[in-house]
Symmetry: C2
Subunit: 256 residues, 2 copies
Amino acid sequence: MPQLTASIIIIGNEILSGRTQDVNIQFIAQRLVNLGIRLESVTIIPDVHEIIIGTINNLRKKHTYIFTTGGIGPTHDDITSKAVAAAFNLPFEPHSEAYKILLNFYGKKAFTPARQKMTFMPRGAILIDNTVTSAPAFQVENVYVLAGFPKIMREMFKNLEITLKIGDPIFSNSTHCHIAESIIAQGLEVIQQQHPCLDIGSYPFYESDTNNGTSLVVKGTKKSSIDTAIIKIEQLIIDYGGTPLTDNEFQRPQKT
Amino acid sequence: MPQLTASIIIIGNEILSGRTQDVNIQFIAQRLVNLGIRLESVTIIPDVHEIIIGTINNLRKKHTYIFTTGGIGPTHDDITSKAVAAAFNLPFEPHSEAYKILLNFYGKKAFTPARQKMTFMPRGAILIDNTVTSAPAFQVENVYVLAGFPKIMREMFKNLEITLKIGDPIFSNSTHCHIAESIIAQGLEVIQQQHPCLDIGSYPFYESDTNNGTSLVVKGTKKSSIDTAIIKIEQLIIDYGGTPLTDNEFQRPQKT
């Protein structure tokens, strides 16, 4: 099966201004790993109509799936849905099913024009359930248009991911040590060369002057090759006087 | 003065696999706001030579400044510096000043080939001090090539930012309320239309069933217009039975 790939487009001035710390990328990235879908890029762009159109059209032909987050709410700065319609050259109009859902949720009196705005979608959009605040997300071809608010986005993603194709699983194993990566770098490169099908990553950590070192992460589609490489890396660590630590023995720093 | 702009390129498989939560984007974004430099996009790409070259060459002509993070360490997966040299069609060779710094830091005996690798840069690169772990970052034309490890990146950024041009300051003011954004959306749109030079952002928050609402952020280059818009927004909140909250009165949710 050909490799399934994905790209994320984060739409929102609040990320580019530094007001908001994005947490959607990591969530989607981790879910995609579990689905065997390779995340190949992430692009963060402002709430600008032409830029959204251009970015979507540049990426949607290159990847199996595109996920956008942000800009599908009721306010004037929520312009993603309209831009997606323009990107696909589709009419932008109320979605009858979404209209029913929101009419039922708000009731006739409170279903204001601003709330009705959330029912406008590209014609033919497939709805994605929003089990948090009711207003649905949607899919057009291979582009999934999700909310930016993390709690809502996560629920939407869980609701859509059952419809995604599943790729060859990507396995991963890791080991850690209290040795600087520059010390084991040469030996590590030899191991990488011996296993060209694997992706060996070296990530330094410095929790404190006494708790620092390197995490080594091996990824690939063949479990047996990964295990072989991990054994070699553990031996390399031992050769340099260190002790290989398992994930359980090692508390990865959460904030750095 | 023409608007100064920037783009960030985050280079690292660990972000795309969801292993690591990026925190560099927000840091750089906030510093750029203070410098009056508009961050126009962020791209996250894997550690792949051709992709790094293509992304840098696609972006460096479009923005005043490009900042890359990640991939300048001593291991085999640190390939950014070489790709930057290729992007600029420059020889990739030991930088004499960087060589002296690292030789002095490690001492002759411990200055292994892996550590010497960190002195390889595009010819003519301008060094950026690394006050944490010594190995310098560098600049080629308008491209600043920084470490990915947040603590190191932040120090590098602080060391380089004194060399950046400073743009017209971007001012910002905000107000908050315990009203859903869909209720004030129409009134907000009118205010946005009255102030086309301002950027009014509406950001919902849901801390709990009793603590939720909307943050309204107004940005622009004219302080007086921002203040006028904020007064109008506060009146809008009052019209809908709410109470405008200042930043001090409002505890923005840090995790959502």
